[in-house]
């Protein structure tokens, strides 16, 4: 159906529209190939399939997604751990618009823009991009009234993804990063679960694209922010080099100090809920980058509503003792009701657990 819609000629298109109408798929017959239709992003229900948006050229199995014009790929310094999935990120900007620069927090995306995150898993996680298959694409659309979040699940042929408001489950048996077999009970979150993580007060917001997290990982790497500025895609960023933007320490960079990396890991993996306007506001545990070292960060903090999530431990962080810290216990667990984050993972992040454990081990007892 979609292939026929793309056929040239008015007659072919007319046939296509009739056929589509008969099966209730009228929405599938937009002008494929012209790039996203700004009107579709401003109003109306989510399209039934990802291809209808026209963010990408026709997808094929084993081939990377090829963005249309005004759809820009980007990477983050640090990403939320999602069962070892590799994430390809794109942002769409409607014609004549640009992202507003902000030194703190998420950049200001214009109305009509969209953020796309495509999750893929490889059969051997020691080479996570080789043979990777797309599982889902999460679409965040910035409308006048705020952000909306729509999940799409890719088909077996890897040619398109279908709108899946209730999410999906997939079982993956792969080779883990340590070379051992790893069973992943991968879960595509449902639409409400999207909001659980992307919530600020009553509104939905992106998490990853902050200036800090969009910086280049190394001094000699090209700066995406500077590139966007030069191309008019980013406004409000002063000209010249980017010294004013602090760079998030890369979690994976084993050559840099442990503490900032551990805090960066907590920031990107926990702070979307564990902040004062987030889903875990009631816990009183706040794990954002700017949180000072104290009770609210978990140091000497007793559990409140953790229940059995607390295990046998007395404190969220027991300085010097990761093995007695609830934080590590919950990061290490895969049991629902214990595991943190609650959503988005079925296996633990060995890098994160080791890093946060090392940070807690080095915290002075006097901090308690």
């Amino acid at each position: 159906m979609i292939a026929r819609c793309g056929a040239p000629g008015a007659a072919a298109r007319a046939v296509c529209i009739i056929a589509a109408a008969a099966t209730g798929l009228l929405t599938a017959c937009a002008d494929r190939g012209a790039g996203p239709d700004p009107a579709r992003l401003l109003a109306g229900p989510p399209p039934s399939s990802l291809s209808v948006f026209d963010f990408f050229e026709d997808a094929a199995s084993g081939a990377a997604l090829m963005p249309r014009p005004r759809v820009e790929g980007y990477t983050l310094v640090n990403a939320l751990f999602s069962d070892h999935a590799v994430k390809d990120r794109h942002v769409y900007l409607p014609p004549g618009s640009a992202i507003g620069y902000r030194e703190d927090g998420v950049l200001e995306f214009p109305v009509g823009s969209a953020i796309l995150k495509t999750f893929s898993l490889a059969p051997d996680l020691r080479d996570p991009s080789r043979g990777a298959r797309r599982i889902e694409t999460r679409v965040l659309v910035r409308r006048a009234e705020g952000w909306v979040a729509w999940p799409y699940v890719w088909n077996a042929a890897q040619t398109d993804a279908t709108y899946a408001p209730v999410g999906a489950r997939q079982t993956w048996d792969v080779t883990g990063p340590d070379g051992k077999p790893l069973h992943i009970d991968y879960r595509v979150p449902n639409q409400n679960q999207c909001k659980t993580c992307h919530q600020r007060g009553d509104a939905i917001t992106p998490i990853g694209p902050t200036a800090r997290n969009l910086r280049a990982v190394h001094d000699d790497a090209p700066e995406l922010l500077a590139d966007w500025r030069a191309r008019g895609l980013l406004k409000g960023l002063p000209s010249g080099p980017l010294p004013t933007v602090e760079r998030a320490p890369a979690v994976a960079d084993a050559s840099s100090p442990v503490a900032p990396r551990a805090r960066a890991w907590l920031d990107i993996n926990c702070a979307h809920c564990h902040q004062r306007a987030g889903s875990a506001s009631n816990s009183g545990l706040y794990l954002g980058w700017d949180e000072p070292e104290g009770t609210a960060l978990g140091i000497g903090k007793r559990p409140v509503a953790a229940g059995r999530g607390a295990g046998d431990a007395l404190f969220v962080i027991d300085p010097g003792h990761p093995e007695r810290s609830i934080m590590v216990h919950r990061m290490d667990s895969v049991e629902p009701g214990v595991a943190m984050p609650e959503l988005g993972r079925s296996v633990h992040d060995p890098v994160g657990v080791a890093l946060v454990s090392a940070w807690i081990a080095a915290l002075p007892r006097a901090a308690l």
Binding site: A22, D185, N282, G284, A305, I326
Partner: protein, 445 residues
């Protein structure tokens, strides 16, 4: 075009939703039911009633409702069962984040975390529900049965919870709360009102928990200073289950056999409750006893008033941290125990407790003086504290605009009062419970 043909064309176009009334359709148990229900909850519009048929629904993931003004209605807490025995994801069985939601007529069983949680969900009603961990008390059960938090307007009625490893019915960091006609059994705490204000907890049956009814105020939380809480007309008996909470949780410190415990909250009035066979103490009033760095937190309870409660046998086998204290006193505690803490950070207050019970009701002041508490510093005495100079006033009844039992200005005299019906149910249940119990050798002093 005939209506039949319109329907046929609509069906052909896959547009049934525009013509039929799927919003009123009943969700049946069976294959695909979990997904159908979650989809229905995601697509619900304000005013919708999501109806669940009788039967058993099995879930592998948590459910969530983010829309406002939606009712989820089952065929009854014994008929419509949502089982989460096979749950492999999410922190609770059902999460509600919309306002003006009503949950009624179903059961939630064996969730891996909390049973039903509502967060920032104002004017929520939990009615005719059952939340249960079917294997009985177990540290691996979820923490809370029903768990409204950060909400204004909470009505919990005819809800039964058993097996929770923290509190069966828990209301946290909320205000304007009614918990009534409910039953909490075999939990660590039966009912807990925590860091919350303006609450009426009445006409509940609370039995076989470790602690019956807890009114707590805790540090290091965004909402503190819980106050204006009335606990009355509850049946609180035989709370004798060993405390099975994980050790780090504050509720793990509640001695098994505690009837009603007030910790660090203010303006709490406890009256006309029926307390018996609680082996540690019927009523325990205490300060928050651990060190805290929370500068905005007051660990002292203030203006706690006790009057007209019925105290049956109890206090004969004190547990937990009160056991050594009781041992020094011959192994028993009187019905009312106060830790005697009135001082914190060098400040002493004169109005912690008004013990207004009849002179025949036993009382002990453990004389601990200040918090953080050192139990070895106990200097027990039986004298009651002097009446508060501030003469505490009972908080006004909680009225919720959305409460169907709230007194109506337009009601005519002679109309049946729904709360009367509630009382009948409770009295009947209490009588049944008494039949199960061996007759006590002696009754109240």
């Amino acid at each position: 075009m005939s209506s039949t043909r319109i329907a046929a064309v609509a069906a052909l176009l896959g547009l049934v939703t525009a013509c039929g009334k799927p919003a009123d359709s009943v969700i049946q148990p069976g294959a695909g039911a979990a997904e159908a229900l979650q989809r229905r909850l995601i697509e619900a519009k304000p005013g919708d009633i999501v109806t669940l048929a009788a039967g058993r629904f099995e879930f592998t993931d948590g459910l969530s409702l983010d829309q406002s003004k939606v009712t989820i209605r089952g065929a009854g807490p014994a008929q419509t069962i949502l089982s989460f025995k096979g749950q492999t994801g999410a922190g609770e069985g059902l999460l509600v984040t919309g306002d003006d939601v009503t949950l009624e007529g179903f059961a939630v069983e064996d969730t891996k975390g909390d049973g039903i949680k509502s967060k920032g969900a104002d004017r929520i009603t939990y009615r005719d529900l059952r939340v249960e961990w079917t294997r009985g008390p177990d540290p691996k059960n979820g923490a809370y049965g029903v768990y409204p938090v950060e909400s204004t307007g909470v009505l919990i009625e005819r809800v039964s919870v058993s097996g929770a490893s923290d509190a069966g019915i828990y209301v946290g960091q909320s205000r304007d709360i009614i918990v009534r006609g409910s039953r909490a059994e075999l939990n660590v705490a039966g009912i807990e009102i925590e860091n919350s204000s303006n609450a009426d907890v009445h006409d509940n049956i609370v039995t076989r928990n470790a602690g019956g009814i807890l009114v707590f105020d805790l540090p290091d939380l965004p909402v503190k200073d819980g106050r204006a809480i009335r606990v009355f007309d509850n049946q609180v008996f035989a709370n004798d289950t060993p405390n099975f909470a994980p050790p780090g949780n504050i509720v793990a410190s509640v001695p098994s056999g505690t009837g009603i415990m007030v910790m660090a909250a203010s303006d709490v009035h406890v009256f006309r409750n029926h307390l018996r066979l609680n082996r540690t103490a019927h009523v325990l009033v205490a300060a928050y006893f651990l060190p805290t760095k929370d500068a905005a937190y007051d660990p002292l309870p203030q203006r706690i008033v006790l009057h007209d409660n019925f105290y049956g046998p109890g206090g004969d086998d004190p547990q937990g941290m009160l056991r050594p204290v009781a041992r020094a006193m011959g192994g028993r505690l009187p019905p009312v125990v106060w830790d005697g803490v009135d001082t914190f950070g060098g400040r002493t207050i004169p109005d912690v407790l008004d013990m207004l019970e009849d002179g025949s009701v036993g009382f002990i002041d453990l004389g601990l003086g200040s918090t953080p508490v050192d139990l070895t510093a106990a200097r027990p005495r039986i004298q009651r504290p002097a009446p508060s100079p501030s003469r505490p006033v009972e908080p006004p009844p909680v009225h919720l605009a959305f409460d169907p039992a709230a007194p109506s200005k337009t009601g005519t005299p002679g109309d049946a009062d729904p709360t009367d019906v509630l009382h009948e149910i409770i009295d009947a249940a209490a009588r049944l419970k008494e039949i199960d119990k061996p007759a006590p050798s002696k009754d109240a002093p």
